[in-house]
Each structure stands twice: as structure tokens, then as C-alpha cells.
């Protein structure tokens, strides 16, 4: 059923997954300070996580409602087809993100110390 090369493949993939998970766990963890919303590669706005807020984003792609409450951020509402963003758990630590793919929207938690973040690819 399984051949030798299969086992090597499985081991390599698991190893890569493990290493990535490890480094992401390390890069995370500190309580975040800022919340940044990026739509289609451009910054929509940056907010403080300390201050409760409700942000409505309406683009030609659709509607999203991001809520900041009790130092947490979550997607309260979205009219995208899959609603993965709404189902996502609330985020609090640096580098955590909630993505609404159909609406090309990214909500990320940042710290005031920019050195902690993973760089984003923007154009």
C-alpha cells in the first residue's frame, strides 16, 4: 500500500508543517495594540484595540462589519458566500488575522513595535 518514497514525502510535509507552526507560535503571543484593516492591498484604517469600536466596510465587493470590544477583534457581519470570516474566533495577539477572501479583506492585529510583525506584501 505505501512505498518508501511515500513515507519520505509524508515525513517532509509533516516536518514543514511542524516547523511553520512552531515559528508562527513564537512570532505570536504578545497582546496586540493596533488593529489594521486592509482591503485589496491598500490600508483601509488602523484602530486601537483598547478602544471599543464598530467598523463598517462597504466596498463594491460587499459588506463587512468588524467589531473591536474588550481588546478583541472579530467579524460580526459579512455578506460573503462562505462566512468563514464571521465564524473565525476573535483575535487578540500580534500577527493574528481574520481574512475575508471573497471581499479581499484582511483584519490584522499589530503591536506598536513594528519590528514584531510579519511583513505584508503590498504593491
Amino acid at each position: 500500500m505505501f512505498k518508501k518514497k511515500d513515507i519520505i514525502l509524508i515525513a517532509v510535509v509533516l516536518a514543514i508543517a511542524g516547523v511553520m507552526a512552531f515559528f508562527m507560535k513564537i512570532g505570536q503571543g504578545n497582546a496586540g495594540e493596533q488593529v489594521r484593516i486592509i482591503v485589496d492591498g491598500t490600508e483601509y484604517g488602523t484602530y486601537l484595540i483598547m478602544i471599543d469600536n464598530e467598523i463598517n466596510i462597504d466596498t463594491e465587493l460587499g459588506h463587512n462589519k468588524v467589531v473591536i470590544r474588550n481588546k478583541e477583534v472579530y467579524m460580526q457581519q459579512a455578506d460573503c458566500p462562505d462566512k468563514y470570516c464571521v465564524e473565525h474566533k476573535a483575535i487578540t495577539s500580534t500577527n493574528e488575522t481574520i481574512v475575508c477572501l471573497p471581499h479581499k479583506l484582511v483584519v490584522e492585529v499589530l503591536s506598536n513595535n513594528r519590528a514584531e510583525e510579519i511583513d505584508s506584501v503590498t504593491q
Binding site: I10, V13, I38, D82, Y84, T97, V121
Partner: protein, 167 residues
């Protein structure tokens, strides 16, 4: 006259494979396979690709694959998901084709590689679309899911291939 017969037969056969793959996709949509993580699917339609690689020409399999992906996007909603499906499907196809040429991998291994590369392809396109590397946060879980679903599809594919070879 003979040449036309052969071509017609090939077209009919390919269309049948597309229809089969469509049914697999539809059935999969009916079964809610939700893990809260976007992008985790069983990938039943890939059974057709996997078995096709062993019985048909690569170009034929590719044609069946792309036709199916486009039709599924049109028929079962979601045109916006088209690029992700194409990216994942094509990368998966190329990887499985490569592993088959390399020899030494079992059908299950090939399918697992297909599952993994499908998810990688989708994630890379997602990163490009939202212009953020943060989506790779999902990579570990998608890699493992790819291995697992690939294994399930591979087991089915292996059994069916064995049976077909005896025909």
C-alpha cells in the same frame, strides 16, 4: 472514417469523465465538511484525475480537469472561487503527473502529494489576492489536511485502478 470514430469515442469518453467528476463535486457540496478552516475539502472529484493519470493521456486528463473546474464554478455558485480552484487543481495535476513519471511512489502517495499541492496552490493565490503573507497562517493545517484527504482519495483510487486493470 476510422479516425473520426476514434475521435468521437475520445470526446464521448472525456465528457463522461467530466460528468462523473461533476457528480463527485456536487455530492461533496451536499455533505457539509466544515472544519472552520477555509479550504478543507475531501476533493472527491480528484478520483477522476488520479485514475485518469493511469489510463489516459496527460493532455486528456488536463482537459477533463479544467472543464470540470470551470463547470463547477458556473453551476454550483461561486465564480469568485474559480482562480483558487484552477490554481489548486492545476498545481495538483502537475505534481501528481511528476510523481507518476518519477516512479517509486504508490497511488496513495501520488494522491497525497496532489492533495497537499492543491492546498498550497490555493493558499498562494489567496496570498496574492489579498496581498498579504498572513494567510500562510493556515498552511500547517492545510498541509496536514491535504495529506489526509489525499490518502483517502488515494485508497479509493488504488482499489478502482486495480479493478480497472483487470478488465
Amino acid at each position: 472514417m476510422l479516425h473520426n470514430d476514434k475521435k468521437t469515442k475520445k470526446i464521448a469518453y472525456s465528457a463522461m469523465m467530466v460528468a462523473l467528476a461533476l457528480i463527485f463535486s456536487y455530492v461533496e457540496i451536499l455533505i457539509p465538511f466544515s472544519f472552520g478552516v477555509p479550504g478543507i475539502k475531501l476533493g472527491l472529484a480528484n478520483i477522476v484525475v488520479l485514475i485518469g493519470l493511469f489510463f489516459l493521456k496527460p493532455s486528456e486528463v488536463f482537459g477533463i480537469l479544467v472543464t470540470r473546474i470551470i463547470l463547477v464554478a458556473f453551476m454550483f455558485g461561486n465564480m469568485s472561487s474559480l482562480i483558487y480552484s484552477l490554481a489548486g487543481g492545476i498545481l495538483s495535476f502537475l505534481m501528481m503527473l511528476l510523481l507518476k513519471q518519477l516512479k517509486g511512489f504508490s497511488t496513495i502517495g501520488i494522491s497525497m502529494a496532489g492533495g497537499v499541492s492543491h492546498n498550497i496552490g490555493q493558499l498562494v493565490v489567496a496570498a496574492i489576492v489579498v496581498e498579504s503573507l498572513n494567510v500562510f497562517y493556515y498552511m500547517p493545517i492545510l498541509l496536514i489536511a491535504g495529506l489526509f484527504t489525499g490518502m483517502l482519495i488515494g485508497i479509493v483510487g488504488q482499489r478502482v485502478s486495480c479493478y480497472l486493470k483487470k478488465q
